[in-house]
């Protein structure tokens, strides 16, 4: 079996042993959908958000939340920790390359995110009758681009942070404003115009927009995709430049 597959399996196994991270990335997004949906008013069509129900929006928000938790909080902590402990250096002395471990960590996170988002979609559909994405291909594209932007930023944090703890602190600090713009506390769709314009320029705001548009059946706006692409490129290149193996 290839080294990358083995490393990914190993990362999955280590991930399973962190109950807190498993809870927040795998279960919490679905629980959030259940909590929001349990409020009667959020299950009724609201003209303020274009005749949708609040619960319809939260399925998309929970999708972005899953990616934010894994990319901003979990992955940077794990990777900076691997540098801090000398594990990356240890790998550099074997035929496996340390970059394979970075890839394996991201692959593991993406698999987890796919599982979590599937669960969110199923809970939304089965419990609250939220329609499944009407443009599955567009939804997948929005999901992957949002993931790309979030992980580029996550790797950038891992590149800068001197330790696993520091990475987690930076990631958490970034997590709250980023998720605010993604509408975790108030849906982006209910933002006043100027705030929404700002949100659309943030990685998770643009991500939520793309996911929401794909869910409601239209192809995501080019603006949202371009913003996400820009984050992927800028932070991806910066992370690649700055990442130290020891």
């Amino acid at each position: 079996m290839s080294v990358f597959v083995q490393l990914t399996r190993s990362e999955l196994r280590l991930f399973r042993r962190e109950p807190q991270i498993v809870f927040f990335s795998l279960a919490f997004p679905s629980i959030l959908v259940l909590i929001v949906g349990s409020i009667p008013a959020f299950r009724e069509a609201d003209d303020a958000i274009g005749g949708l129900r609040v619960i319809d929006l939260y399925v998309g928000i929970a999708t972005v939340l899953t990616l934010a938790t894994l990319a901003l909080q979990s992955a940077p902590m794990v990777l900076a920790g691997y540098r801090e402990s000398g594990f990356l250096r240890r790998l550099a002395t074997t035929p496996a390359r340390p970059i394979a471990l970075l890839g394996a960590q991201v692959a593991m996170c993406l698999l987890t995110a796919l599982a979590s988002v599937s669960l969110v979609l199923i809970v939304g559909r089965v419990v609250f009758g939220v329609a499944l994405p009407r443009q599955p291909a567009a939804f997948l594209l929005a999901f992957l681009l949002t993931a790309g932007a979030a992980f580029a930023i996550g790797l950038f944090i891992a590149a800068l942070a001197p330790s696993g703890k520091a990475a987690n602190a930076i990631g958490t600090l970034l997590f709250f404003p980023a998720m605010f713009f993604a509408g975790l506390w108030t849906p982006r769709e209910a933002f006043p115009g100027f705030l929404r314009d700002i949100a659309d320029l943030t990685p998770l705001g643009a991500g939520e927009r793309a996911v929401h548009e794909a869910t409601s059946g239209s192809w995501p706006a080019w603006g949202a995709l371009a913003v996400l692409g820009a984050y992927v490129v800028v932070f991806g290149v910066a992370a690649a430049r700055l990442f130290r193996w020891e």
């Binding site: 490393l7 280590l14 042993r17 594990f87 550099a92 002395t93 035929p95």
Partner: protein, 301 residues
């Protein structure tokens, strides 16, 4: 055959010169010790050999290749100072994972048994004792059936028994034909294990020799001390070519000399039917050789 060749290696970090022109050659099948006080440049030197650092100048060849050649990763096993595995990775998982890195790995079960880890396969790295972590680290370094094993400070932090067990293991590794480069600051370890030792101090090699050769190089000779059973004339001893000086401390006779000093003194006493009570032989050890070579003790830190 020379497996590692270092010529005029230099490496600095900012203003600190770590290695200031190290040259040495390691032969196939030997246990080659790199001995020196902390901060002497030992680790930097082996890190350049392991391809983890790029020298500022000088050349390093490992099995005739550039140390950064990816092909060497299969041929050189490295045990690094201060490198930890993920806390929640179990011993078996680590061994299986690292086995997957090599095209033709050793049987990790046998290796684990040889290292006394077979009872710990299900234990997570974070729960291992210092000695067990070290042994796992050595197992991982040997997994790829390397031709060269670089072991950096491998017994630091081990209790005396674990240290002795590890020495036996290193001997066994060499017996399989693996060339071992051993970085250490323990005299006893170097003296026990190494075929040859390079003493490094302040970034340069001050001597390369066998442990006995190093001792000989710096020690003027030996000293025999005893209490004779009957009065003895100094002249009996001073006529011997091996004897340099005889001094007395009360009833005790102290003889300084060289060569086969002990044998000739013993033979002379026997010939005169004198018994040497409380016989003590003092010989400079590697410890003393080291202090003379570097001007300080290895254990001062």
């Amino acid at each position: 055959m020379t497996v590692i060749e270092i010529e005029e290696l230099r490496k600095r970090y900012g203003d600190t010169v770590a290695v200031a022109g190290v040259s040495l050659a390691v032969e196939a099948g030997e246990i080659f010790g790199i001995l020196g006080p902390n901060g002497a440049g030992k680790t930097t030197t082996v890190e350049c050999v392991a391809g983890l650092r790029t020298p500022d100048s000088g050349t390093v060849r490992v099995l005739g290749r550039d140390p950064r050649d990816p092909a060497l990763r299969r041929l050189v096993g490295v045990q690094l100072q201060e490198s930890r595995l993920p806390e929640k990775m179990a011993v078996r998982e680590a061994l299986e994972l690292f086995s997957a890195f090599y095209p033709d790995p050793a049987d990790w079960r046998r290796l684990a048994a040889e290292l006394g880890l077979d009872g710990k396969l299900g234990t997570r790295f974070g729960k291992l004792s210092g000695g067990q972590k070290q042994r796992l680290s050595i197992a991982l370094a040997l997994l790829g059936n390397p031709r060269i094993a670089i072991l950096d400070e491998l017994t630091t932090g081990l209790d005396p028994q674990a240290r002795r067990d590890t020495w036996d293991l290193i001997g066994a590794v060499r017996d399989r034909g693996v060339t071992v480069v051993l970085v250490t600051h323990f005299m006893e370890e170097a003296e026990r294990l190494c075929d040859r030792i390079a003493v490094i101090d302040a970034g340069v090699v001050v001597a390369v020799d066998t442990p006995a050769g190093l001792v000989e190089r710096v020690s003027a000779g030996q000293r025999v001390r005893f209490r004779p059973s009957a009065p003895i004339d100094d002249a009996l001893l001073t006529v011997l070519p091996e004897v340099d000086r005889v001094t007395r401390h009360g009833s005790q006779v102290e003889v300084d000399g060289h060569g086969n000093l002990v044998q000739v003194v013993a033979a002379t006493l026997a010939a005169h039917r004198i018994i040497a009570h409380d016989l003590r032989i003092e010989q400079a050890g590697l410890d003393e050789a080291f202090v003379r070579l570097t001007g300080r003790g290895a254990r001062e830190e």
